[in-house]
Symmetry: none
Subunit: 213 residues, 2 copies
DNA sequence: AACGCAATACCCCGATTGGGGTATTTTTTA
DNA sequence: TAAAAAATACCCCAATCGGGGTATTGCGTT
């Protein structure tokens, strides 16, 4: 089969080993070729630009950022590229956010490899691939459920401020960095606390760490 | 190369995709053969008994149990089998526990695959394979100001208080918990800050997380 | 006996956070 | 286009933290 006919797939996952493993699995398919592997969120858009993949396999759990946010950016910058989210979180909320973001699918990392392959084919063929198991198990394992539900209620600016707080900046420093008034940052902090149900910075930092913000 | 000369490797990881990926990576080596894959902790010992692998690649992060505990059991039941821990946690504490358990290595999941391969070869050859990057995190902090030495200078009471701060307790609450005056806790906090070279709770919490306190 | 160190406790005061409001403007969505 | 959500900004005051001191007690080491 000639190279031109192969579907080019870009892998985004901050675990190199997982990424290499996926590469091996995908390239057993004669019509798939992994055109590149990206390990950092900031490299995603430039790499798509240079390699022009047909599909991006994007891990939701990226250090520092959220895979769904990146997926959104990919779609706005490259509307023709398919984006398939890969995650170990079996959560309806996350699947819903993925769907609302207009992304093309949501597949669990512990899926059988055949499901992954067929999901990719469905997406490449113009369809969607949302893992059916997500709705089923959701009611039982609500370990991450509360946190992610809360995560979804956060506005973009709030997430931005959480990250800066986590990095050790004070209200005043954050205000300077974002070119807004300190009183505004204070307002955001109050809203964040109330949305997450916490009362001090320490809990906020731990929440941010736990949720990969 | 005949099958008898190949090193038999058993994979234990509750992510099937990761496991399949690893299998692909390992079997590109002519002298490696993945003799089996296990996805549940309870299947580990029986499978080792029936397949008699030379080496077990064991994920620390197994649903329900702890990979290190399983490693210990493997060593007591099958002293001849090599056990290599695979994990995404870059923590000195975990590496030390792995070493103390007498296991043969500790490799980070986001390692380059070449590191994994050479680690496996080292262990099969009777050596050890402890990821150097784990210590480097500590050494890296040494550059910033002798973190390890600082850590040794921390008194028991100070470590105790760091843990409580990390868990979200205020000065007043810590005082009540330890049956000492709030002013004493304040003194400890000041000393901690000065020893670690930091100026606020957020950095303290992050330091505690990084150092597995 | 003298020294170091850990643990205890207090004073003072400025900086920062936490939480209760209210309110305007802009953007998004129904 | 009207309603909702996000982002902006301020008031007030209490709670908490941050850092500068000083000081006592007790327990090991030298």
């Amino acid at each position: 089969m000639s190279t031109q006919l192969r579907h080019k797939i870009l892998l985004v996952d901050d675990h190199q080993m997982m990424s290499d493993g996926l590469k091996g699995i995908l390239e057993k398919q004669a019509d798939f070729v992994v055109c590149g592997q990206v390990f950092e969120a900031s490299d995603v858009l430039p790499t798509i630009h240079s390699l022009q993949p047909h599909l991006v396999l994007l891990d939701i759990n990226l250090r520092g950022t959220n895979g769904i946010d990146i997926g959104r950016k990919v779609l706005t910058d490259f509307p023709v590229v398919k984006v398939l989210m890969l995650t170990m979180y079996n959560q309806t909320k996350l699947l819903d956010e993925t769907r609302r973001a207009g992304l093309h699918g949501y597949i669990l990392k512990d899926s059988p490899t055949t499901d992954l392959i067929s999901g990719i084919r469905a997406v490449l063929g113009g369809g969607k691939a949302f893992d059916k198991r997500v709705q089923q198990v959701d009611n039982q394992e609500d370990v991450f459920g509360d946190d992610f539900a809360r995560r979804l209620k956060l506005a973009f600016r709030e997430v931005e401020i959480i990250r800066l707080i986590r990095d050790g900046f004070t209200t005043e420093q954050i205000a300077a960095k974002l070119f807004i008034a300190a009183s505004t940052v204070k307002t955001h902090r109050k809203n964040i606390h109330s949305k997450l149900g916490i009362t001090n910075v320490v809990d906020l930092v731990q929440w941010a760490n736990k949720n990969g913000l």
